[in-house]
Amino acid sequence: MVDLKVEIAPGVILKNPVLTASGTFGYGREYAPYFDISKLGAIITKGLSLQPKTGNPGVRITETACGMLNAIGLENIGVERFLADELPILRKLKAVVIVNIFGNNQSDYAALAAKLDGIAGITALEINISCPNVKAGGIQFGTDPQAAAKLVAAVRKETSLPLITKLSPNVSDIVAVAKAVEEAGSDSLSLINTLLGMAIDLDQKRPILGNVTGGLSGPAIKPVALRMVYQVAQAVSIPVIGIGGIVSARDALEFLLAGATAIEVGTASFINPQTASKIVEGIENYLDDQGCDRITDFIGSLEKNPI
Protein backbone atom coordinates (compact mmCIF):
# COMPACT_ATOMS: atom_id res chain seq x y z
CA MET A 1 0.00 0.00 0.00
CA VAL A 2 1.41 3.29 -1.08
CA ASP A 3 1.60 6.05 1.51
CA LEU A 4 -0.42 8.96 0.06
CA LYS A 5 0.25 11.47 2.83
CA VAL A 6 1.44 14.89 1.76
CA GLU A 7 2.40 18.03 3.66
CA ILE A 8 0.74 20.95 1.88
CA ALA A 9 2.01 23.55 4.33
CA PRO A 10 4.38 23.28 7.30
CA GLY A 11 2.69 20.91 9.72
CA VAL A 12 -0.41 20.40 7.57
CA ILE A 13 -0.28 16.75 6.63
CA LEU A 14 -3.21 15.48 4.56
CA LYS A 15 -4.13 11.84 4.09
CA ASN A 16 -3.87 12.20 0.35
CA PRO A 17 -3.18 14.97 -2.19
CA VAL A 18 -6.70 15.31 -3.56
CA LEU A 19 -8.52 18.54 -2.66
CA THR A 20 -11.57 20.16 -4.16
CA ALA A 21 -11.38 23.56 -5.80
CA SER A 22 -13.21 26.51 -4.32
CA GLY A 23 -16.53 27.29 -5.96
CA THR A 24 -16.90 23.82 -7.40
CA PHE A 25 -17.66 21.90 -4.23
CA GLY A 26 -20.36 24.07 -2.70
CA TYR A 27 -19.92 24.14 1.05
CA GLY A 28 -19.00 20.47 0.97
CA ARG A 29 -22.08 18.77 2.36
CA GLU A 30 -23.81 18.82 -1.03
CA TYR A 31 -21.39 16.04 -2.00
CA ALA A 32 -21.98 13.90 1.07
CA PRO A 33 -24.75 11.86 -0.65
CA TYR A 34 -22.25 10.82 -3.33
CA PHE A 35 -19.26 9.70 -1.27
CA ASP A 36 -17.60 10.01 2.10
CA ILE A 37 -15.99 13.44 1.87
CA SER A 38 -13.74 12.72 4.84
CA LYS A 39 -11.80 10.45 2.47
CA LEU A 40 -10.43 13.45 0.59
CA GLY A 41 -7.20 15.21 1.45
CA ALA A 42 -9.26 18.30 2.17
CA ILE A 43 -12.23 20.19 0.87
CA ILE A 44 -12.00 23.86 0.02
CA THR A 45 -15.16 25.86 0.50
CA LYS A 46 -16.82 28.27 -1.90
CA GLY A 47 -15.06 31.64 -1.54
CA LEU A 48 -16.35 33.50 1.52
CA SER A 49 -16.61 37.23 2.06
CA LEU A 50 -17.37 39.22 5.21
CA GLN A 51 -20.91 39.91 4.08
CA PRO A 52 -23.15 37.59 2.04
CA LYS A 53 -22.94 38.29 -1.69
CA THR A 54 -25.72 37.75 -4.24
CA GLY A 55 -23.40 37.36 -7.21
CA ASN A 56 -23.98 38.40 -10.81
CA PRO A 57 -27.32 38.76 -12.55
CA GLY A 58 -28.06 37.21 -15.92
CA VAL A 59 -26.54 34.13 -17.49
CA ARG A 60 -23.74 32.85 -15.30
CA ILE A 61 -22.34 29.85 -17.13
CA THR A 62 -21.77 28.81 -20.69
CA GLU A 63 -19.89 25.95 -22.22
CA THR A 64 -16.89 26.47 -24.50
CA ALA A 65 -14.67 23.98 -26.33
CA CYS A 66 -13.56 21.50 -23.64
CA GLY A 67 -14.21 24.12 -21.00
CA MET A 68 -16.74 26.42 -19.42
CA LEU A 69 -16.95 30.07 -18.58
CA ASN A 70 -18.45 31.15 -15.28
CA ALA A 71 -19.45 34.53 -14.02
CA ILE A 72 -21.04 33.48 -10.75
CA GLY A 73 -19.75 36.68 -9.19
CA LEU A 74 -18.56 35.04 -5.99
CA GLU A 75 -22.07 34.52 -4.60
CA ASN A 76 -21.76 33.20 -1.05
CA ILE A 77 -23.58 33.11 2.27
CA GLY A 78 -20.96 35.18 4.09
CA VAL A 79 -18.57 34.09 6.77
CA GLU A 80 -21.05 34.35 9.67
CA ARG A 81 -23.59 31.98 8.21
CA PHE A 82 -20.82 29.65 7.12
CA LEU A 83 -19.57 29.37 10.67
CA ALA A 84 -23.05 29.01 12.10
CA ASP A 85 -24.70 26.69 9.57
CA GLU A 86 -22.11 24.95 7.44
CA LEU A 87 -18.97 24.37 9.45
CA PRO A 88 -20.73 22.27 12.11
CA ILE A 89 -22.07 19.96 9.40
CA LEU A 90 -18.63 19.62 7.84
CA ARG A 91 -17.18 18.77 11.24
CA LYS A 92 -19.81 16.10 11.72
CA LEU A 93 -18.90 14.72 8.28
CA LYS A 94 -15.26 14.69 9.49
CA ALA A 95 -14.09 16.65 6.46
CA VAL A 96 -10.75 18.42 6.54
CA VAL A 97 -11.79 22.00 5.82
CA ILE A 98 -9.83 24.74 4.10
CA VAL A 99 -11.68 28.04 3.84
CA ASN A 100 -11.28 30.14 0.71
CA ILE A 101 -11.57 33.89 1.36
CA PHE A 102 -11.77 37.05 -0.74
CA GLY A 103 -12.57 40.73 -0.29
CA ASN A 104 -12.81 44.06 -2.05
CA ASN A 105 -9.81 45.50 -0.31
CA GLN A 106 -7.02 44.58 2.01
CA SER A 107 -8.91 45.20 5.21
CA ASP A 108 -11.68 42.83 4.15
CA TYR A 109 -9.13 40.05 3.79
CA ALA A 110 -7.50 40.92 7.09
CA ALA A 111 -10.82 40.99 8.90
CA LEU A 112 -11.78 37.61 7.47
CA ALA A 113 -8.47 36.12 8.52
CA ALA A 114 -8.87 37.49 12.02
CA LYS A 115 -12.40 36.16 12.30
CA LEU A 116 -11.40 32.65 11.18
CA ASP A 117 -8.28 32.49 13.32
CA GLY A 118 -8.42 29.88 16.03
CA ILE A 119 -11.76 28.43 15.01
CA ALA A 120 -11.88 24.71 15.57
CA GLY A 121 -12.38 22.66 12.43
CA ILE A 122 -10.54 24.92 10.02
CA THR A 123 -7.25 23.53 8.78
CA ALA A 124 -6.00 26.38 6.60
CA LEU A 125 -7.02 29.44 4.63
CA GLU A 126 -6.80 29.77 0.88
CA ILE A 127 -6.58 33.42 -0.19
CA ASN A 128 -8.15 34.14 -3.55
CA ILE A 129 -6.16 37.09 -4.88
CA SER A 130 -7.81 37.06 -8.34
CA CYS A 131 -10.22 39.72 -7.19
CA PRO A 132 -10.46 43.32 -8.18
CA ASN A 133 -8.93 45.64 -5.59
CA VAL A 134 -11.64 48.24 -5.22
CA LYS A 135 -9.28 50.75 -3.62
CA ALA A 136 -6.68 50.42 -6.38
CA GLY A 137 -9.21 51.16 -9.08
CA GLY A 138 -10.28 47.59 -9.71
CA ILE A 139 -6.88 46.24 -10.74
CA GLN A 140 -6.61 42.67 -9.53
CA PHE A 141 -4.46 42.06 -6.46
CA GLY A 142 -3.19 38.98 -8.20
CA THR A 143 -1.65 40.63 -11.24
CA ASP A 144 0.87 42.77 -9.39
CA PRO A 145 3.57 41.04 -7.28
CA GLN A 146 3.82 43.98 -4.86
CA ALA A 147 0.10 44.31 -4.28
CA ALA A 148 -0.21 40.55 -3.82
CA ALA A 149 2.64 40.51 -1.31
CA LYS A 150 1.16 43.38 0.72
CA LEU A 151 -2.17 41.58 0.84
CA VAL A 152 -0.63 38.33 2.01
CA ALA A 153 1.45 40.12 4.64
CA ALA A 154 -1.68 41.81 5.96
CA VAL A 155 -3.52 38.49 6.20
CA ARG A 156 -0.47 36.82 7.73
CA LYS A 157 -0.54 39.28 10.62
CA GLU A 158 -4.11 38.40 11.55
CA THR A 159 -3.97 34.65 11.74
CA SER A 160 -1.86 31.75 12.82
CA LEU A 161 -3.67 29.46 10.34
CA PRO A 162 -1.54 28.11 7.50
CA LEU A 163 -1.98 30.32 4.42
CA ILE A 164 -2.34 29.08 0.87
CA THR A 165 -2.25 31.88 -1.69
CA LYS A 166 -4.25 31.10 -4.83
CA LEU A 167 -2.62 32.66 -7.89
CA SER A 168 -4.21 34.15 -10.98
CA PRO A 169 -3.00 32.87 -14.37
CA ASN A 170 -3.82 36.17 -16.09
CA VAL A 171 -0.32 37.53 -15.59
CA SER A 172 2.85 38.06 -17.59
CA ASP A 173 5.06 36.43 -14.99
CA ILE A 174 3.43 34.09 -12.50
CA VAL A 175 6.80 33.21 -11.01
CA ALA A 176 7.29 36.80 -9.89
CA VAL A 177 3.94 36.81 -8.08
CA ALA A 178 4.69 33.42 -6.55
CA LYS A 179 8.04 34.55 -5.19
CA ALA A 180 6.60 37.77 -3.83
CA VAL A 181 3.86 36.05 -1.84
CA GLU A 182 6.30 33.37 -0.61
CA GLU A 183 8.46 36.19 0.68
CA ALA A 184 5.41 37.81 2.28
CA GLY A 185 4.75 34.76 4.40
CA SER A 186 2.47 32.48 2.40
CA ASP A 187 2.96 28.88 3.54
CA SER A 188 1.88 27.39 0.29
CA LEU A 189 0.59 28.32 -3.19
CA SER A 190 -2.31 27.03 -5.23
CA LEU A 191 -2.67 27.63 -8.96
CA ILE A 192 -4.33 28.28 -11.30
CA ASN A 193 -7.52 30.20 -10.91
CA THR A 194 -9.59 30.67 -14.10
CA LEU A 195 -8.36 32.37 -17.29
CA LEU A 196 -10.37 35.44 -18.20
CA GLY A 197 -12.53 34.74 -21.24
CA MET A 198 -15.69 35.72 -23.08
CA ALA A 199 -18.44 34.16 -25.17
CA ILE A 200 -20.79 35.75 -27.66
CA ASP A 201 -24.23 34.73 -28.87
CA LEU A 202 -23.87 35.41 -32.57
CA ASP A 203 -27.54 35.42 -33.49
CA GLN A 204 -28.50 37.71 -30.65
CA LYS A 205 -25.37 39.83 -31.15
CA ARG A 206 -24.77 39.95 -27.44
CA PRO A 207 -22.29 38.73 -24.84
CA ILE A 208 -23.67 35.50 -23.36
CA LEU A 209 -22.62 36.10 -19.77
CA GLY A 210 -24.43 38.62 -17.62
CA ASN A 211 -21.04 39.91 -16.57
CA VAL A 212 -19.77 40.00 -20.21
CA THR A 213 -16.50 38.26 -19.27
CA GLY A 214 -16.04 35.18 -17.13
CA GLY A 215 -13.52 32.64 -15.89
CA LEU A 216 -12.48 29.78 -18.15
CA SER A 217 -12.00 26.39 -16.49
CA GLY A 218 -11.92 22.73 -17.45
CA PRO A 219 -9.68 20.52 -19.63
CA ALA A 220 -9.11 23.38 -22.10
CA ILE A 221 -6.86 25.17 -19.61
CA LYS A 222 -4.86 22.16 -18.41
CA PRO A 223 -1.79 22.83 -20.60
CA VAL A 224 -1.52 26.40 -19.26
CA ALA A 225 -2.00 25.24 -15.67
CA LEU A 226 0.58 22.49 -16.00
CA ARG A 227 3.13 24.92 -17.43
CA MET A 228 2.58 27.43 -14.61
CA VAL A 229 2.77 24.77 -11.90
CA TYR A 230 5.99 23.46 -13.41
CA GLN A 231 7.53 26.94 -13.54
CA VAL A 232 6.44 27.95 -10.05
CA ALA A 233 7.37 24.66 -8.38
CA GLN A 234 10.94 25.13 -9.57
CA ALA A 235 11.13 28.72 -8.38
CA VAL A 236 9.77 28.54 -4.84
CA SER A 237 10.54 26.39 -1.83
CA ILE A 238 7.03 26.25 -0.36
CA PRO A 239 4.55 23.56 -1.48
CA VAL A 240 2.53 24.13 -4.63
CA ILE A 241 -1.01 22.86 -5.17
CA GLY A 242 -1.92 22.28 -8.82
CA ILE A 243 -5.33 23.22 -10.25
CA GLY A 244 -6.74 23.41 -13.75
CA GLY A 245 -8.60 20.95 -15.93
CA ILE A 246 -7.97 17.90 -13.79
CA VAL A 247 -10.60 15.26 -14.53
CA SER A 248 -8.76 11.98 -13.95
CA ALA A 249 -6.09 10.39 -11.80
CA ARG A 250 -3.75 10.56 -14.79
CA ASP A 251 -4.23 14.33 -15.01
CA ALA A 252 -3.60 14.63 -11.27
CA LEU A 253 -0.44 12.54 -11.51
CA GLU A 254 0.90 14.79 -14.28
CA PHE A 255 0.62 17.79 -11.95
CA LEU A 256 2.39 15.86 -9.19
CA LEU A 257 5.19 14.98 -11.61
CA ALA A 258 5.47 18.64 -12.51
CA GLY A 259 6.12 19.44 -8.87
CA ALA A 260 2.71 19.91 -7.25
CA THR A 261 2.47 18.50 -3.71
CA ALA A 262 -1.30 18.22 -4.05
CA ILE A 263 -4.03 19.03 -6.54
CA GLU A 264 -7.54 20.45 -6.58
CA VAL A 265 -10.40 19.08 -8.65
CA GLY A 266 -12.69 21.81 -10.00
CA THR A 267 -15.09 21.71 -12.94
CA ALA A 268 -14.81 17.92 -13.18
CA SER A 269 -16.91 17.60 -10.00
CA PHE A 270 -19.85 19.16 -11.86
CA ILE A 271 -19.73 16.46 -14.51
CA ASN A 272 -19.53 13.64 -12.03
CA PRO A 273 -19.78 14.40 -8.32
CA GLN A 274 -17.63 11.37 -7.51
CA THR A 275 -14.65 12.55 -9.54
CA ALA A 276 -12.48 13.60 -6.60
CA SER A 277 -12.96 10.31 -4.80
CA LYS A 278 -12.25 8.35 -7.98
CA ILE A 279 -9.05 10.33 -8.40
CA VAL A 280 -7.89 9.29 -4.93
CA GLU A 281 -8.43 5.64 -5.89
CA GLY A 282 -6.83 6.09 -9.29
CA ILE A 283 -3.70 7.67 -7.86
CA GLU A 284 -3.36 4.89 -5.34
CA ASN A 285 -3.75 2.18 -7.97
CA TYR A 286 -1.33 3.80 -10.38
CA LEU A 287 1.39 4.26 -7.79
CA ASP A 288 0.84 0.74 -6.46
CA ASP A 289 1.30 -0.62 -9.98
CA GLN A 290 4.50 1.38 -10.29
CA GLY A 291 5.76 -0.11 -7.04
CA CYS A 292 5.98 3.32 -5.48
CA ASP A 293 5.93 3.27 -1.66
CA ARG A 294 5.50 6.90 -0.86
CA ILE A 295 3.79 9.49 -3.04
CA THR A 296 6.41 11.99 -1.94
CA ASP A 297 8.94 10.02 -3.99
CA PHE A 298 6.78 10.55 -7.04
CA ILE A 299 6.13 14.27 -6.56
CA GLY A 300 8.41 16.40 -8.73
CA SER A 301 10.03 13.33 -10.28
CA LEU A 302 9.60 14.53 -13.85
CA GLU A 303 12.71 13.83 -15.90
CA LYS A 304 13.89 17.11 -17.31
CA ASN A 305 14.67 15.60 -20.72
CA PRO A 306 11.68 15.45 -23.02
CA ILE A 307 10.76 12.25 -24.84
Binding site: G26, G55, R60, M68, I72, G218, A220, I271, P273
Partner: protein, 272 residues
Amino acid sequence: MYLFNTEIVCNQKLSPNIFRLRLKATKDFCREAAPGKFVMLGTDDSLFDPLLRRPFGICRWGEDWFEVVIKIVGKGSCQLSRLESGGAVAIHGPLGNGYPKDQLESVQKPLFLVAGGMGIASIASHIFSALDSKQSLAGTFLFYGAASYSELILRNELTAATAIGLHIHTITDDGSCGRQGLVTQLLATELQNQPQGRVFACGPEPMLKSVQNVLQKVGSEGYISLENRMACGFGVCLGCVQTVLSEDSKSGVETAKVCTQGPVFPAQEVVF
Protein backbone atom coordinates in the same frame (compact mmCIF):
# COMPACT_ATOMS: atom_id res chain seq x y z
CA MET B 1 -30.55 10.37 -6.60
CA TYR B 2 -28.22 7.99 -8.38
CA LEU B 3 -25.17 7.97 -10.64
CA PHE B 4 -24.83 5.17 -13.14
CA ASN B 5 -23.82 4.28 -16.66
CA THR B 6 -26.44 2.75 -18.83
CA GLU B 7 -27.46 2.21 -22.42
CA ILE B 8 -30.06 3.26 -24.93
CA VAL B 9 -32.90 0.77 -25.44
CA CYS B 10 -34.19 2.57 -28.50
CA ASN B 11 -34.26 5.94 -30.18
CA GLN B 12 -37.33 7.11 -32.07
CA LYS B 13 -37.45 10.17 -34.29
CA LEU B 14 -40.58 12.17 -33.45
CA SER B 15 -39.97 15.09 -35.79
CA PRO B 16 -37.06 16.20 -37.97
CA ASN B 17 -35.22 17.42 -34.88
CA ILE B 18 -36.92 15.80 -31.91
CA PHE B 19 -36.05 12.32 -30.66
CA ARG B 20 -37.40 10.06 -27.95
CA LEU B 21 -34.76 7.98 -26.21
CA ARG B 22 -35.62 5.08 -23.95
CA LEU B 23 -32.85 4.21 -21.49
CA LYS B 24 -32.27 1.29 -19.17
CA ALA B 25 -32.33 2.34 -15.53
CA THR B 26 -32.01 0.82 -12.10
CA LYS B 27 -35.15 0.04 -10.13
CA ASP B 28 -34.02 2.47 -7.44
CA PHE B 29 -33.86 5.22 -10.00
CA CYS B 30 -37.34 4.44 -11.27
CA ARG B 31 -38.78 4.44 -7.77
CA GLU B 32 -37.50 7.99 -7.26
CA ALA B 33 -38.74 9.25 -10.63
CA ALA B 34 -41.70 11.64 -10.40
CA PRO B 35 -43.45 14.14 -12.66
CA GLY B 36 -41.30 17.24 -13.23
CA LYS B 37 -37.99 15.72 -12.14
CA PHE B 38 -35.04 15.64 -14.49
CA VAL B 39 -31.76 13.88 -15.20
CA MET B 40 -28.33 15.06 -16.26
CA LEU B 41 -27.27 13.02 -19.31
CA GLY B 42 -23.74 12.62 -20.58
CA THR B 43 -22.04 10.49 -23.17
CA ASP B 44 -18.46 9.29 -23.51
CA ASP B 45 -16.54 10.42 -20.43
CA SER B 46 -13.16 10.21 -22.15
CA LEU B 47 -13.88 12.97 -24.68
CA PHE B 48 -14.43 16.49 -23.37
CA ASP B 49 -16.48 18.07 -26.13
CA PRO B 50 -19.24 18.44 -25.09
CA LEU B 51 -17.92 18.77 -21.56
CA LEU B 52 -20.84 19.08 -19.19
CA ARG B 53 -23.86 16.81 -18.88
CA ARG B 54 -27.17 18.19 -20.10
CA PRO B 55 -30.51 18.38 -18.23
CA PHE B 56 -33.62 16.66 -19.63
CA GLY B 57 -37.00 16.02 -18.09
CA ILE B 58 -37.94 12.45 -17.18
CA CYS B 59 -40.91 12.10 -19.47
CA ARG B 60 -42.05 8.56 -18.78
CA TRP B 61 -40.70 5.59 -16.85
CA GLY B 62 -41.38 1.99 -15.96
CA GLU B 63 -39.81 -0.51 -13.58
CA ASP B 64 -36.37 -0.45 -15.14
CA TRP B 65 -36.41 2.15 -17.89
CA PHE B 66 -37.20 5.77 -18.51
CA GLU B 67 -37.67 8.03 -21.50
CA VAL B 68 -36.50 11.50 -22.39
CA VAL B 69 -37.55 13.60 -25.36
CA ILE B 70 -34.72 15.64 -26.82
CA LYS B 71 -34.86 18.51 -29.24
CA ILE B 72 -31.65 19.30 -31.10
CA VAL B 73 -30.59 22.86 -30.31
CA GLY B 74 -26.81 22.53 -30.02
CA LYS B 75 -24.00 20.03 -29.86
CA GLY B 76 -24.99 18.27 -26.65
CA SER B 77 -28.53 17.55 -27.75
CA CYS B 78 -27.29 16.67 -31.23
CA GLN B 79 -24.85 14.11 -29.92
CA LEU B 80 -27.42 12.48 -27.67
CA SER B 81 -29.99 12.39 -30.44
CA ARG B 82 -27.62 10.34 -32.60
CA LEU B 83 -27.21 7.54 -30.10
CA GLU B 84 -28.66 4.24 -31.15
CA SER B 85 -29.76 1.15 -29.33
CA GLY B 86 -26.86 -0.03 -27.15
CA GLY B 87 -25.23 3.42 -27.08
CA ALA B 88 -23.64 4.35 -23.75
CA VAL B 89 -25.04 7.11 -21.58
CA ALA B 90 -24.10 8.37 -18.13
CA ILE B 91 -26.98 9.30 -15.83
CA HIS B 92 -27.29 11.49 -12.77
CA GLY B 93 -30.76 11.67 -11.30
CA PRO B 94 -33.62 11.89 -10.64
CA LEU B 95 -32.91 15.50 -9.76
CA GLY B 96 -35.04 18.49 -8.81
CA ASN B 97 -38.22 18.85 -6.79
CA GLY B 98 -40.80 17.93 -9.41
CA TYR B 99 -44.42 19.08 -9.36
CA PRO B 100 -45.93 19.15 -5.87
CA LYS B 101 -47.60 15.79 -5.45
CA ASP B 102 -50.44 16.95 -3.20
CA GLN B 103 -51.47 19.55 -5.75
CA LEU B 104 -51.25 17.10 -8.63
CA GLU B 105 -53.37 14.54 -6.93
CA SER B 106 -55.98 16.74 -5.33
CA VAL B 107 -59.04 16.02 -7.44
CA GLN B 108 -61.25 18.74 -6.01
CA LYS B 109 -60.35 21.36 -8.58
CA PRO B 110 -59.69 21.31 -12.30
CA LEU B 111 -56.03 20.86 -13.29
CA PHE B 112 -54.68 22.94 -16.17
CA LEU B 113 -51.50 21.64 -17.73
CA VAL B 114 -49.81 24.14 -20.02
CA ALA B 115 -46.99 23.07 -22.34
CA GLY B 116 -45.09 25.20 -24.83
CA GLY B 117 -42.71 23.49 -27.25
CA MET B 118 -40.42 21.05 -25.47
CA GLY B 119 -42.17 21.94 -22.20
CA ILE B 120 -44.39 18.99 -23.12
CA ALA B 121 -41.64 16.61 -21.96
CA SER B 122 -42.10 17.83 -18.41
CA ILE B 123 -45.87 18.29 -18.54
CA ALA B 124 -46.49 14.91 -20.16
CA SER B 125 -44.68 13.18 -17.30
CA HIS B 126 -47.75 13.68 -15.12
CA ILE B 127 -50.09 12.44 -17.83
CA PHE B 128 -48.04 9.31 -18.50
CA SER B 129 -47.62 8.70 -14.81
CA ALA B 130 -51.41 8.70 -14.39
CA LEU B 131 -51.85 6.55 -17.47
CA ASP B 132 -49.26 3.99 -16.39
CA SER B 133 -50.58 3.77 -12.83
CA LYS B 134 -54.18 3.66 -14.05
CA GLN B 135 -55.27 6.82 -12.26
CA SER B 136 -58.01 9.08 -13.55
CA LEU B 137 -57.28 12.40 -15.24
CA ALA B 138 -60.86 13.58 -14.97
CA GLY B 139 -60.92 17.35 -14.70
CA THR B 140 -57.46 17.64 -16.25
CA PHE B 141 -56.98 19.89 -19.26
CA LEU B 142 -53.86 19.92 -21.43
CA PHE B 143 -53.16 23.14 -23.35
CA TYR B 144 -50.35 22.33 -25.71
CA GLY B 145 -48.78 24.82 -28.08
CA ALA B 146 -45.93 24.47 -30.54
CA ALA B 147 -44.48 26.33 -33.48
CA SER B 148 -46.16 24.05 -36.00
CA TYR B 149 -47.78 20.67 -36.53
CA SER B 150 -44.50 18.80 -36.86
CA GLU B 151 -43.38 20.03 -33.45
CA LEU B 152 -46.53 18.82 -31.72
CA ILE B 153 -45.04 15.57 -30.55
CA LEU B 154 -46.32 12.54 -28.62
CA ARG B 155 -49.81 13.08 -30.10
CA ASN B 156 -50.85 9.41 -30.03
CA GLU B 157 -49.59 8.80 -26.53
CA LEU B 158 -51.34 11.90 -25.21
CA THR B 159 -54.55 11.06 -27.02
CA ALA B 160 -54.51 7.68 -25.28
CA ALA B 161 -54.96 9.58 -22.01
CA THR B 162 -58.32 10.97 -23.12
CA ALA B 163 -59.60 7.50 -22.19
CA ILE B 164 -58.85 8.31 -18.55
CA GLY B 165 -60.42 11.72 -18.74
CA LEU B 166 -57.81 14.10 -20.16
CA HIS B 167 -59.07 17.01 -22.29
CA ILE B 168 -56.59 18.14 -24.93
CA HIS B 169 -56.47 21.51 -26.68
CA THR B 170 -53.69 22.18 -29.15
CA ILE B 171 -52.62 25.40 -30.74
CA THR B 172 -49.81 26.27 -33.16
CA ASP B 173 -48.03 29.50 -33.98
CA ASP B 174 -48.72 28.96 -37.67
CA GLY B 175 -52.14 27.36 -37.41
CA SER B 176 -50.92 24.12 -38.97
CA CYS B 177 -52.72 22.16 -36.24
CA GLY B 178 -55.45 23.18 -33.80
CA ARG B 179 -56.06 26.88 -33.39
CA GLN B 180 -53.53 29.48 -34.47
CA GLY B 181 -51.97 31.48 -31.66
CA LEU B 182 -50.22 31.10 -28.35
CA VAL B 183 -50.98 28.50 -25.74
CA THR B 184 -51.49 31.14 -23.07
CA GLN B 185 -54.53 32.39 -24.99
CA LEU B 186 -56.16 28.98 -24.44
CA LEU B 187 -55.28 29.11 -20.77
CA ALA B 188 -56.57 32.64 -20.30
CA THR B 189 -59.94 31.80 -21.80
CA GLU B 190 -60.40 28.66 -19.73
CA LEU B 191 -59.24 30.27 -16.49
CA GLN B 192 -61.86 32.98 -16.91
CA ASN B 193 -64.44 30.21 -16.70
CA GLN B 194 -62.80 28.16 -13.99
CA PRO B 195 -60.62 30.50 -11.88
CA GLN B 196 -60.33 27.89 -9.14
CA GLY B 197 -58.19 25.75 -11.49
CA ARG B 198 -54.63 24.89 -10.52
CA VAL B 199 -52.09 25.57 -13.26
CA PHE B 200 -48.87 23.68 -14.09
CA ALA B 201 -46.81 25.16 -16.89
CA CYS B 202 -43.54 24.41 -18.65
CA GLY B 203 -42.12 26.06 -21.74
CA PRO B 204 -39.90 28.88 -22.95
CA GLU B 205 -39.39 31.87 -20.66
CA PRO B 206 -41.63 34.30 -22.59
CA MET B 207 -44.49 31.82 -22.30
CA LEU B 208 -43.93 31.35 -18.58
CA LYS B 209 -43.92 35.11 -18.06
CA SER B 210 -47.20 35.28 -19.87
CA VAL B 211 -48.63 32.44 -17.74
CA GLN B 212 -47.54 34.38 -14.68
CA ASN B 213 -49.47 37.42 -15.95
CA VAL B 214 -52.58 35.45 -16.72
CA LEU B 215 -52.56 33.87 -13.27
CA GLN B 216 -52.08 37.21 -11.61
CA LYS B 217 -54.93 38.78 -13.54
CA VAL B 218 -57.36 36.00 -12.71
CA GLY B 219 -55.98 35.58 -9.21
CA SER B 220 -55.37 31.89 -9.68
CA GLU B 221 -52.47 29.86 -8.31
CA GLY B 222 -50.03 27.79 -10.27
CA TYR B 223 -46.59 26.34 -10.71
CA ILE B 224 -44.07 26.87 -13.44
CA SER B 225 -41.10 24.71 -14.32
CA LEU B 226 -37.94 26.58 -15.36
CA GLU B 227 -35.17 25.47 -17.70
CA ASN B 228 -32.22 27.68 -16.75
CA ARG B 229 -28.77 26.71 -18.00
CA MET B 230 -27.14 24.23 -15.67
CA ALA B 231 -23.57 23.11 -15.15
CA CYS B 232 -23.96 20.65 -12.27
CA GLY B 233 -27.66 19.97 -11.69
CA PHE B 234 -27.21 19.28 -7.97
CA GLY B 235 -26.72 22.62 -6.32
CA VAL B 236 -22.99 23.26 -6.26
CA CYS B 237 -22.10 25.57 -9.16
CA LEU B 238 -24.64 28.36 -8.59
CA GLY B 239 -24.92 28.67 -12.35
CA CYS B 240 -28.67 28.10 -12.61
CA VAL B 241 -29.95 30.58 -10.08
CA GLN B 242 -33.21 32.43 -10.50
CA THR B 243 -34.33 35.51 -8.64
CA VAL B 244 -37.33 34.70 -6.47
CA LEU B 245 -39.40 36.56 -3.86
CA SER B 246 -38.22 36.07 -0.33
CA GLU B 247 -39.71 36.84 3.03
CA ASP B 248 -36.39 36.67 4.87
CA SER B 249 -34.18 39.00 2.91
CA LYS B 250 -34.31 42.76 3.25
CA SER B 251 -34.52 43.40 -0.47
CA GLY B 252 -37.53 41.12 -0.68
CA VAL B 253 -35.81 38.94 -3.26
CA GLU B 254 -33.16 36.25 -3.18
CA THR B 255 -31.62 33.74 -5.56
CA ALA B 256 -32.82 30.16 -5.71
CA LYS B 257 -31.06 27.24 -7.34
CA VAL B 258 -33.31 25.99 -10.09
CA CYS B 259 -31.72 22.53 -9.98
CA THR B 260 -32.37 21.76 -6.33
CA GLN B 261 -34.98 24.25 -5.16
CA GLY B 262 -36.73 23.89 -8.53
CA PRO B 263 -37.15 23.39 -11.40
CA VAL B 264 -40.80 23.82 -10.29
CA PHE B 265 -41.65 27.06 -8.48
CA PRO B 266 -44.90 28.65 -7.38
CA ALA B 267 -45.60 30.94 -10.32
CA GLN B 268 -46.00 34.13 -8.29
CA GLU B 269 -42.64 33.71 -6.56
CA VAL B 270 -40.47 33.86 -9.67
CA VAL B 271 -39.02 37.29 -10.55
CA PHE B 272 -38.14 37.27 -14.25
